[in-house]
């Protein structure tokens, strides 16, 4: 295969009626139209991206996907009302229609003086986000990385029955922001990654194991590690059984803790504070977690996939410490929530695509590491549960903090991981969980811009047979 898609296509260029234009020319045109139609303020967000996904099964390429996507989103503020519209079509006709729609949509939205667009930042963090190598490497070489994940997993243990998926993925993109306050900024980024889903089997029992490795740098990809880890996770769960209900100390693996942290994110959003839907609202300066807890959002963290020089409103990114020594220091904000609460934006305006308005969201969101080793942390437990997988995290309630999750993992007996456990549920409340943390390990691990170390919680209700 000699696919060189990324070279075949010119970045940032579109054609209309046979004439080539730079995508960047769209923005000033749209801003001008919006102002002429009565918008006091306007902002254009441009996205141009391409993505490659390769799925390997039985050493053959089962699925290969190449994609390119681009479009723009327009925000207008007219008489303190916000309107939004988007289009993937960049033709003159579509630009006019989008401007008209945005203004039309704004008419019925409630007036609010807090809406604004950003002014040019004093300085933006300098980040190394673009790796030429990701673009330069051939598709064959990328296929071989996914094949390596599969090979390693299959060879690592005789109980590995099959590799459900061995995947290579990369993406490169360009994001630009223009607004009528004179802001013009753009950056180019790329990332790549590998993941594997492995199936272990012994007799009738089958279990799944998962591992991933996403990075800004092509050379940091490690297919052997992904294959071995996914295989180990599948095999160690073989023979898992339910256990009797009990209240026990629970240890969360970094991957599981990261998932829990993701649910917590919502409670740290300035928007949730305004809406009265965060259980942390009004608790600034108060103790909301065990003194061992430090939670950070850092949009300019070197080497992390969640980093960018500015957020999706054009505000420079940076570090925001949310919880220090268990004390709540603040929340995440975009321009709107910051203005509402009389603080400054933390650079946390996030858009999932050009189709969505900039909402408050996390960048690189992580639970800082502690000082003990994972082994020490487990070694102190007489009887407990080491949780390696939870199901139904998306059903946890970020407003009340209540959660009840399906869980599987390994039993801890006299400081050692012993037999695998499945088919139990763990229930509690996020506030209680944060306060109940009594040990944090030094093994902070990131999973695509989010991370956590191994964490131990005093006593949680485990429901079993």
């Amino acid at each position: 295969m000699e696919i060189q898609l990324l070279k075949e296509r010119q970045f940032d260029v579109y054609k209309e009626k046979g004439v080539k234009y730079s995508m960047e020319t769209v923005a000033p045109k749209v801003l001008d139209m919006a102002q002429r139609k009565g918008a006091e303020l306007a902002e254009v967000f441009l996205l141009d991206s391409q993505k490659l996904t390769i799925e390997v099964a039985s050493q053959k390429v089962e699925n290969l996907k190449l994609s390119e996507e681009r479009g723009f989103g327009l925000r207008v503020i007219s008489q303190q009302r916000l309107g939004y519209a988007y289009s993937s079509d960049l033709s003159e006709k579509a630009l006019i229609k989008t401007v008209e729609r945005a203004i039309y949509n704004s008419r019925l939205v409630a007036e609010d003086s807090a809406w604004d667009v950003a002014t040019l930042g004093k300085s933006y963090p300098v980040l190394d986000l673009y790796d030429e190598e990701i673009i330069r490497k051939t598709v064959e070489e990328k296929i071989s990385l996914a094949q390596e994940v599969e090979k390693t997993a299959l060879a690592s243990d005789s109980r590995v029955r099959q590799v459900e998926k061995a995947v290579y993925q990369d993406s490169s993109y360009r994001i630009s922001l223009y607004n009528t306050r004179g802001l013009v900024c753009s950056y180019q980024g790329s990332y790549c990654g590998l993941y594997g889903v492995v199936i272990g089997q012994e007799g009738e029992d089958a279990q799944t194991g998962f591992s991933m490795n996403f990075s800004l740098k092509y050379k940091e990809l490690n297919p052997t590690k992904v294959g071995l880890e996914a295989a180990e996770k599948a095999v160690r769960m073989l023979g898992a059984k339910s256990m009797p209900s009990a209240k026990l100390p629970v240890v969360f693996e970094p991957y599981v803790m990261t998932g829990i942290l993701e649910v917590l994110q919502t409670a740290f959003s300035g928007k949730a504070v305004i809406k009265g839907t965060s259980f942390l609202a009004g608790k600034e300066g108060k103790k909301v977690a065990s003194p061992l807890v430090r939670i950070i959002d850092h949009g300019a963290l070197p080497g992390q996939v969640g980093s960018s020089p500015f957020d999706s409103e054009g505000v420079p990114t940076g570090e925001t410490v949310l919880v220090q020594d268990g004390e709540l220091l603040g929340f995440l904000h975009n321009l709107y929530t910051a203005s509402k609460l009389g603080v400054v934006s933390t650079g946390n305006a996030v858009r999932s695509s050009f189709k969505s308005t900039p909402e408050v969201g996390a960048t690189n969101f992580y639970f800082d590491k502690g000082t003990v080793s994972r082994e020490e942390l487990i070694g102190e437990i007489k009887r407990g549960l080491y949780v390696t997988e939870v199901m139904g995290l998306h059903t946890a309630n970020p407003i009340s903090g209540d959660f009840s999750l399906g869980a599987s993992g390994l039993l801890i007996e006299n400081g050692e991981l012993t037999t695998p456990v499945k088919g139990v549920a763990i229930a509690g409340n996020l506030q209680g969980l944060l306060l109940g943390i009594d040990a944090v390990a030094d093994d902070l691990t990131f999973y695509v811009g989010q991370g956590a170390p191994t964490v131990r919680v005093q006593g949680l209700m485990i429901s079993g047979k």
């Binding site: 290969l64 996907k65 289009s87 209900s245 969505s356 209540d402 088919g423």
Partner: protein
């Protein structure tokens, strides 16, 4: 794009000796309104248009998409996709285009794009007021309205040519109630393959009240018990259980890869004889309904499990070819950005004979589930979990008090074997089902039924010691 151009693009895609090529052209117009804090906060609308080209050679699929729709660019995209899936030197001919007849005629009474935004906004505000009016402990109400009009053209080298227009409308209400430090939520939603008539033909005021009342009710609920116990799932509770416990495991891609507990079990008993599971793409107005699937196959009604015996899986074109059967009309994709895979549409357990009220009256003790939330399944071993949004502890046929914070955990085939009684009612709920990162609209339902035992994961400790445990807050 003309048929002639489409066929040229397909020809290009077959060029390097593949077995099959397909073009999926989508134009999607969406609009959404969001009300929070007693006011309209956001109105968003836009158009997303693009073309996806799929090429299959043997077991190898290649997919490329673009939202640059110029003919010259699409020829390039077709060539890229072709290179990704190469097989032989022999180049196949494209069959002449024909349109298979649809088994359904969808009538959209009020196409949403013809309704003024003022009218939509008015409905949203009315719903908001209804929810807020329920109780002064309602602290926040979010109402989300959205509609979408999706025009697709699907053409493939086997001669299928289909044009389809899908309209979907959805309304959801999320209420937050608070008392002191305690915060609880309630959620209700409504949606279908219909236009704006959705809001007129359904009692949206009632919907709003139900969501708000649930949030209020949960303020006084006690922590759910934990441990194994009998569970009554009422017909109103929705179909999350059938969706997770068996739906996903009956999708042919997972079956063929050996990733489903139901693999190789056609003709075998996999559930209690009281259980019949159906996936029906033709149910008028339901959220998962359409005339054609995203590969141009007419949708149909498929019985998957009949009286406890596994009868069929859900197929798309690729998996159907492999099993030498025809597609069941379940090839679906989120958008032009994704390749189609087997997915559910409207999935339900068929109603039985027993009066639901009698079922509850005859239950000595256990958990009575009135509303389910989201769920998740590991199809490999059938283990699943789903969230309970409203439930009561039941004793001697009476609901004694509401409980909160419960999750039900079980194993799909095991749960379906443990169903003892099936009621004669049926209630649908809607959802967006996620698989391989693609979300598609579905609905699911089940009658009132009794599962002999499920693991209830609450914080309230053993059900016999209920009331003695203190909830940590």
């Amino acid at each position: 794009m003309e048929k002639k151009e489409i066929s040229e693009i397909l020809k290009k895609a077959l060029n390097s000796g593949a077995d099959f090529a397909e073009l999926f052209w989508e134009q999607k117009e969406s609009s959404s309104i969001s009300c929070e804090e007693n006011r309209i906060e956001r109105i968003n609308s836009g158009i997303d248009e693009g073309v996806g080209i799929r090429v299959i050679a043997g077991e190898n699929t290649s997919y490329a998409y673009s939202n640059d729709l110029s003919f010259s660019r699409l020829l390039e995209v077709a060539e890229i996709a072709a290179k990704g899936a190469r097989k032989s030197q022999e180049v196949l001919e494209i069959k002449e285009f024909q349109t298979p007849p649809s088994l359904l005629k969808l009538e959209i009474k009020k196409p949403p794009h013809e309704i003024e935004i003022e009218e939509k906004v008015q409905s949203v505000l009315t719903v908001n007021e209804a929810a807020r009016g329920v109780d002064n402990r309602i602290r926040q109400v979010t109402v989300n309205y959205s509609d979408a009009r999706q025009k697709v053209t699907i053409a493939n080298t086997d001669g299928v040519f289909v044009e389809d227009l899908r309209t979907r409308t959805r309304l959801s209400v999320h209420a937050v109630a608070a008392e002191g430090d305690l915060v609880q939520t309630g959620f209700q939603s409504l949606g279908g393959s219909v236009g704006f008539e959705l809001l007129e033909e359904n009692d949206v005021i009632e919907l709003a009240k139900t969501a708000a009342q649930r949030a209020i009710l949960m303020l006084s609920a006690k922590p759910a018990p934990s441990g194994k116990m009998p569970v009554v799932l009422t017909g109103k509770a929705g179909g999350t259980m059938v969706h997770e416990a068996c739906g996903h495991g009956l999708e042919a891609d997972l079956v063929q890869k050996g990733l489903s507990v139901y693999a190789g079990r056609i003709g075998q008993e996999v559930a209690s004889p009281l259980i019949t599971v159906v996936d029906d793409g033709l149910l008028k107005g339901k959220f998962g309904t359409s005339c054609y699937d995203d590969e141009g196959t007419p949708c149909r009604k498929n019985v998957l499990i009949r009286d406890g015996v596994l009868e069929n899986y859900m197929y798309d074109l690729k998996t159907a070819k492999r099993d030498q059967v025809s597609s069941t009309g379940n090839g679906r994709r989120e958008s032009y950005k994704s390749r189609p895979i087997p997915r559910m549409r409207n999935t339900y357990i068929a109603p039985g004979k027993t009066d639901p009220e009698k079922i509850i009256k005859d239950t000595k003790e256990g958990l009575l589930v009135m509303a389910m939330g989201g769920g998740q399944v590991n199809t490999l071993n059938g283990d699943y979990v789903f969230d309970v949004a409203e439930a009561y502890l039941i004793k001697d046929g009476e609901a004694i008090y509401p409980v909160r914070g419960a999750t039900l955990t079980g194993n799909g085939p095991e749960t379906l074997r443990l169903v003892d009684i099936v009621g004669n009612d049926l209630g649908f709920t809607i959802g967006i089902c996620g698989k391989e990162g693609q979300g598609v609209p579905v609905s699911d339902a089940q009658p009132t039924m009794v599962v002999r035992e499920l693991i209830v994961g609450g914080t309230g400790g053993d059900s016999t010691t209920q009331g003695k445990t203190i909830r940590r807050l």
